[in-house]
Amino acid sequence: MKTENVIEADQLTKTFGGFTAVNAITFEVKKGEIFGFLGANGAGKTTAMKMLIGISKPSSGTAKVAGFDVYTQTESIKKNIGYMSQKFALYDDLTVKENITFFGGIYGLSRTKIKEKREQLVSELGLENISNKLVGSLPLGWKQKLSFSVSLLHEPKIVFLDEPTGGVDPITRRQFWEMIYKAADQGTTIFVTTHYMDEAEYCDRVSIMVEGKIEALDTPKKLKEQFKADSMSQVFLKLARNIE
């Protein structure tokens, strides 16, 4: 079965002055895939992601996201992707419902569509009782789930998640991954960065970035075979150590 690529990066590079944050990375992501983008702190994951979502111009190389060029068609890319940043980026001083309305509104959803989505989302997340509370007063885990749902509001082809489960308890993490699976089942491509190696096991394919380069890219199973390891955690440590 041949599936189309929704992300294609070729020799994509970003330099800041003399420092190369992302060094000629090449990979593609297939439609409906859960693609894990792994790497240590400072390996260049976030920078790479910012180029793909059209808020950072690459220094060299090419990339296409949802069929659009990252140099010239960033606004078309933005219509087709959702993004959830490391930093919680909904408005703390707006309520759950108001946040949904606002983001639905700026993605150009119709009023009826927004209303429908708002009700669906609130009931799916079980937020009926607190949907009129300010988001700032919610626990972190709920915020993260809400923010993931908001990034899916406009039914994007691809959703980019930058360390979505940082600082969240194991139960919530589990629920979060169930949400990711559900979105992937519905055909959304998931591009996710994480530090948690157990989460890497949940991905269809993972790439591991070390110091700006992609050092390994395959299914978790094959990577474990290749590095003769029992877990993704060992794969990661071996890779990181080799480089040092």
Partner: protein, 373 residues
């Protein structure tokens, strides 16, 4: 258009939900208007006055009595010697010292002339000038009395001709400094509040990370910027309205000209200020930086606006700089429209310059706002 509506709605919700912000927007400016307008005065009153009388005659006492009668001077004490008075002036206890020499009366009678020595604390040059003027007025009036005293009744009928100039003060007949200051301070408040709010607003979203979230949406730059700035434009107009009402009720400032004209000018003027705020937030990363830069410009603009010191008395190079000061135009227009009743054609030069300024400022601001880094 619909997108802009969503942003405006969100901004207003955030502004009115912020319990710390509301008083800053509405209560503080009102307090400032009331306090500053009453305190920022050019009138010099309650001058601390002392004298040294070496003469001790009826004439010297008559002169001192004239100072006593004046409402401008507080006659504090008499000093026995110059040394004492110098010490007191150094300590800041007196501002003006009158020294009446020995034989003051005798000289007046015999030689028809006599000298007085006045010492004025001139650290504040402007105040010293005013004080010197007051002293002169009193001495002049004393002079007249003395002349009359020396003339016998027959001559009184045929006094020498004297020329007196009688000024009539146009546009502010009673020289009420509040009439002059209140409109200016109103300008200051409208400008400061809108500049600070708009300057810090977008940079705040940068700080909390929501701006990045906005930048990954397909929203257009112009939509975002209009949606962001419009609420502050409304707030600026609201502040002007509140200020004008207070100016009328509390200070009874005359409103000779058309208020519609004033609103027209303000609506364009606010675009300049908001564009400037946006420009500041584009080039800063934190609210603190934005605040400092906004403050820097506001202080220069205010001090060079003709609000407190006349632009005509500034050096040539400074006058050229004031051409680039939007607050200067607003101060001029407010005073012209309210006090002189100027019409559309009168304020046309200011209107054009402000419009041009608004276009340049907002052009720069939109150009420098980057969704992609």
């Amino acid at each position: 258009m619909k997108t802009i509506g969503y942003i405006i709605q969100k901004e207003f919700k955030q502004i009115f939900r912020n319990k710390g912000m509301l008083p800053i927007i509405f209560i503080l400016p009102i307090l400032q208007l009331v306090i500053l307008s009453n305190a920022a005065t050019y009138e010099v009153k309650n001058i601390k006055f002392a004298y040294i009388d070496y003469d001790h005659t009826s004439k010297s006492r008559a002169l001192i009595e004239k100072f006593n009668a004046s409402t401008y001077f507080d006659v504090l004490t008499d000093f026995p010697s110059q040394l004492k008075s110098s010490t007191a002036m150094l300590a800041g206890e007196v501002d003006v010292v009158l020294e009446i020499p020995n034989h003051f009366e005798q000289n007046l009678l015999k030689e028809k002339t006599s000298d007085l020595s006045i010492t004025i604390n001139a650290i504040d040059g402007a105040a010293a000038g005013v004080e010197s003027g007051y002293v002169n007025q009193i001495v002049q009036s004393f002079n007249k009395d003395v002349k009359m005293f020396f003339m016998d009744t027959s001559k009184k009928a045929m006094q020498p001709l004297t020329i007196e100039s009688i000024p009539s003060f146009w546009y502010n007949t009673t020289l009420n400094y509040k009439t002059f200051m209140v409109p200016g301070i109103l300008v200051l408040l409208v400008s400061m509040i809108t500049l600070f709010l708009s300057g810090m607003n977008i940079v705040r979203e940068k700080e909390i990370g929501t701006l990045e979230q906005i930048n990954v949406t397909p929203i257009r730059k112009s939509q975002f910027i209009i949606g962001k700035l419009f609420p502050f434009w409304i707030i600026g107009m609201g502040l002007l309205t509140v200020g004008l009402i207070l100016a009328k009720i509390i200070f009874n400032v005359p409103m000779e000209g058309s208020l519609g004209l004033l609103y027209l000018f303000t609506s364009i003027y606010l675009l300049v200020i908001l564009g400037m705020g946006l420009l500041i937030s584009n080039f800063t990363d934190t609210q603190q930086q934005a605040m400092f830069i906004a403050w820097f410009f506001v202080v220069i603009f205010i001090l060079m606006s003709g609000l407190f010191t006349p632009i005509e008395s500034m050096p040539k190079w400074a006058q050229i700089i004031t051409e680039f000061n939007p607050i200067k135009y607003f101060v001029e227009v407010v005073r012209m429209v309210l006090l002189k009743g100027s019409d559309f054609n009168d304020i046309l030069p200011q209107l054009w310059k402000t419009l041009l300024y608004a276009i340049v400022m907002n052009g720069l601001a939109v150009w420098s706002y980057k969704k992609v880094n």
